[in-house]
Symmetry: C2
């Protein structure tokens, strides 16, 4: 017997038929003798409609009222799921965030969960009742409904699993697990049986968007074992667990890519103390996140600085740097959106040298030019011309021995 939190995303509860299918998966876990809490998202499309209404009335709407409106999507699904479970002969009860309560801070529209009182749910689950909990929302200190921001239902599920001391948090979604890379690019991509929290974070933040980053961070902090699996296919998923639970550590677990980058080069900057602070201070004042950064060695007291920003931030970044030109004193600002970031991720890197050099060798063999390099403890990322994205991913997938047999 185990205690399990099962989370169903918007596509998994998109209509009554899918709610019935999800309910039958819950029944299977109950009939296997498990205690089950279910976390549901809004039916796919519902949240967008509710958000659209708020924005039509006022682009600058009150976040408290936005939360009151938008949170209804999950309340509908929770009630319908409880009815679907009862129809299958499973005792079930829906719980809105305010009823449990799931206490959050007061940041309406992007609240953070602070505390969940799981005692009543644990009591009822022990008596065989399934608790169906609204994802994405809680109760703020002002006694008003708060929402956690888009995709927050993953975080709700992990936080609930932590509060209930669940053995596992199963995230049912429209993919059947975490792959070594995007199967649309590499047909021989393999599904991973297990992956560590750290690797999942690196893969998520560079494009493999299966789980919300916040939910993985929370799972890592609270040591919640998360399983990603398909709502529609009956196949094993991927377990996201602590590194210690992964016996056979792979050197490299995945290759990620992102085309949402833009490269900026500030040409001929005076190479004096404080100039980097001026450049990146101007960007940070405009809330532009900078990712990879390289600075060339100085020549005639002048240097070039190259860095990447999210593509959607590019206009804001250009404007900020144009405005700060007198303070920075650069000669030219170059922008390039025709770039892609490729990342090799693996906890095995910590103890193995040569991961990066193998990467550079594999790309050189295909004649792919590396524009920027950045590394972290378990990741090596490079920036290349976007046209080479698929070729680079395939080459690296093969080079690190990730291809399925």
């Amino acid at each position: 017997m185990a205690r399990i939190v099962m989370k169903f995303g918007g596509t998994s509860v998109a209509d009554l038929d899918r709610i019935r299918i999800a309910a039958s998966r819950v029944r299977r876990e109950v009939e296997a003798g498990n205690e089950v809490a279910v976390v549901v998202s809004a039916m796919a499309g519902t949240t967008n409609q509710l958000v659209g209404w708020c924005q039509s009335l006022s682009p600058l709407h009150d976040a408290r009222e936005y939360d009151a409106v938008v949170a209804t999507g999950e309340q509908i699904t929770a009630g319908l799921m409880a009815i679907a479970l009862q129809t299958l002969g499973i005792e079930a009860r829906s719980w809105a965030g305010w009823q449990i309560p799931i206490r959050t801070d007061g940041a309406h529209g992007k609240a953070r969960i602070e505390q969940i009182d799981g005692a009543e749910l644990v009591h009822r689950m022990g008596q065989g009742q399934v608790a169906v909990v609204t994802g994405f929302q809680g109760l703020g200190p002002d006694h008003r409904i708060t929402t956690l921001g888009r995709g927050g239902s993953d975080t709700s599920a992990v936080a609930l699993a932590a509060a209930l001391r669940a053995d596992r948090c199963d995230i049912y979604t429209d993919v059947d697990g975490i792959y070594t890379t995007d199967p649309r690019i590499v047909t021989r991509a393999r599904k991973l049986a297990r992956i560590s929290y750290e690797e999942m974070l690196e893969l998520a933040s560079v494009g493999a968007k299966v789980l919300q980053t916040r939910s993985v961070e929370l799972a890592m902090k609270e040591k919640v074992r998360v399983q990603v699996l398909s709502s529609f296919q009956d196949v094993p998923g991927t377990l996201v667990v602590d590194e210690d639970e992964i016996v056979e550590k792979e050197l490299v677990s995945g290759i990620a890519y992102s085309r949402d980058e833009a490269k900026l080069t500030v040409r001929r900057v005076p190479d004096r103390p404080g100039v980097a602070a001026t450049v990146f201070g101007a960007l940070s004042a405009e809330n532009v996140n900078v990712d990879m950064i390289v600075q060339n060695i100085s020549e005639d007291g002048m240097t070039d600085m190259t860095f990447t920003v999210g593509r959607s931030d590019l206009p804001r970044a250009q404007a900020a740097l144009a405005e700060a030109k007198p303070q920075i004193g650069y000669a030219e600002l170059l922008a390039d959106t025709n770039v892609a970031k490729i990342s090799v991720v693996g906890v095995g890197m910590r103890s193995h040298a040569g991961i990066a050099s193998k990467m550079f060798r594999a790309l050189a063999d295909k004649g792919i030019n590396i524009q920027v390099i950045s590394t972290s403890e378990i990741k090596v990322s490079i920036l290349i011309a976007a046209d080479y994205t698929e070729l680079a991913v395939r080459s690296l997938h093969t080079a690190y021995g990730l291809d399925a047999a």
Copy 2:
């Protein structure tokens, strides 16, 4: 300065444009210096969709979960209305039933309001904040959302007006007031400036369905002055008030009609004590409401009993009487659905004789045969063949001097 509750029904908040129009009506009251609470229904069609989903999953769904699902309709409108008001520069805040709270009994799906704590709302309204309250719902003793049953938002508005000691409860709807009769039948029907609670109850229960009967009963009990007026036209409505507030009492205030009746005649029943109890006991056991009843004088120890039931109850009534035939011992059961009930209503009847005889004379003049007669303190109702409905209504409207000039 007055304190006003303004209630907007489903058609008055059916889309964002109508919500904006309703909000502008609220602004007008606020700018006139009034303290305002707004009660909203769900957007027209929303409740039906939510109910349909529950029923598709299970015709015998759990009423607690039904309530959790269906109550979201008003929660959406309340938040949107608050945003719409803020956009007009009016300070506003939405309140779900559970937040105030509006306490109800535990009869999920058809709960009754027991108590509303209006202190916080009164405090905020005093500071110029409009309270936008979800109609149709409250919080049950089980700490779960309850709904009041269809049309319950009128009752919410009147109950809130009572709790806030409001000077008036304005019900905005898709008609512009209460008429002396159905304007589709009598083009010279007049809108009434005022009508008493008692008259409104009699008119509502016989077909002029503008206000929920429960809400009028509550208004009468709590002495809440209710105004019915149009969301779409800017014209005075009808005030529903205590009889004492009506200075010029009309002898007759309205002519109502209903085609939802069926007439049953039990032929040749033994005229002995207890036989009426047997007949109507059999019907009441099947939850069939009986309205008009007449019993002919006895002949050879046998009598006929004629009565009306709601047309939708007719099959159940016939089945119940067929089953009870051995106990009752009647010769024949006749049913007739080709009937209409016409009612003349007016508090003036209490002090004036001759109302009924004028009715019978007017109908006789048109050759209309009266099948059944029943009277109450402020109403005379008759049953006639359905074909004569319009003729009867028009004749009576003229006979009692109700035609507009």
